[in-house]
Amino acid sequence: MEEALRLSHISKHYPKFTLEDVNLVVPKGSIMGFIGENGAGKSTTMKAMLGLIHPDSGTVYVDGKKFTGSERDIKEHIGVVMDSACFSEELNAKEIGSVMRRIYRTWDSGRFEKLLKEYKIEETKKVKEYSRGMKMKLSIVVALSHDSKLLVLDEATSGLDPVVRDALLDTFLEFIQNEEHSIWLSSHILSDLEKVCDYITFIQDGRVLFSENKDELMEKYRIVKGSARQIRELEPTAVVGVQENEFGAQALVLSEEIPEGMISDRPNIEDIMLFHVKGGK
């Protein structure tokens, strides 16, 4: 398995928050979904990955190369989309293209113009006149108009309508058709991640709780329903979390440890995340 991105023992301490020993790998040709609550450390991890903050310890490798020391070469092949478009509101798409042409050696003006047409982005309209959806689309067009091998998308689909989101997800899936390409995608819209991701990493309070293949992850757990007494009798080491209400209880349990005869459902990513966060045993 060739690695597009590896974060090895990344730590960063702030007065009120610590990112602790983050380790994860994004294999080439895959999409990694990064999930967690607000303030869990998603953006801090992304910033450490892109050299926007200085980690206290740890190393980032992109395409097998150490990030520190070859930052400029590596960044030539990374496309980044932040949760808000960071372009000046006074510029139009044509001018943004003209700026980027002078920054990226691999900038492809033809591809940029083609993508603008494909996404119906008016070249001469100023960014301040764009809707949020248009701004995000423009950011993605910019990320795709140079030789990006790794796309880093931070809440890129948040606040967009389902039609636009679906179109963007198709774009991401098309992007990874090239086996050299990979995507790191952080989002609160877990249904989007479930649709497109190959791997899921879950971070909570600055620590990575798991980083696994999505299909294996969804096979690994089951939601077991029963009376509160039945749930309490489950093997404690097999239970991730329990939720009780007046009608009974349900628990996220390791699939292999479910006693015969108990009703169980397949969880989705949201269930897995919620049981990890709220379903304290």
Binding site: L50, L52, R72, V80, M82, C86, E90, I103
Partner: protein
Amino acid sequence: MMGLVWQELYTMRKTIRLYIVAMAVYLMIGWTTDNLSMFFPLLVFFSSMLVIAGFAYNEKNNWDLFANTMPVSRKQMVGSHYILMMLFIGVGFLADILLCTVTAMRSGTDLWELLAGQYAVFAVALIYVIIFIPIIIKMGSERARIILVCLYVIPLLLLKGLYDMGFSMPTEEQLHLLLGISPLLFAVGIWISFRISVSIYRKKDF
């Protein structure tokens, strides 16, 4: 790095246009009243203010956060501001020289005397900006503005203090010597300011 410079020029074109219109109005007022003495310093100072405005626009758009994900080094990020500084102040100073020449020809004033005054204004503006850029990089444009006000007051107080202590004004010879070596002093000042700014910017977390 030129991409970064163009980004700021595109972003600030409205402000630049506004400054040009404001300058044209001041020029017309000065021209019709035969008093351009206030106009010349304004020209250079407005140019230096553009440098500061550039930082404020970038902060508003979160540009540095995004720009640092692109293949540009932190040194280049800082360098683009120094290029713009030299461009804005340089253009302001050239326009100043041109207008001084026209004024001298029109009114018969001594051109060299006019230019010497403008060179002093240019020098003060440049000194302020090269001190101010590292401060703005460290503190951000909002908080740095308060310090900018102090920066204007401190030299005046210092001069007054020196005057009160009985220090005499420099002689004409000393002034000529200072004028002669001033380009070198500016170059060294810009270089030191740039190195300090790069060092601050490299340590920044976004």
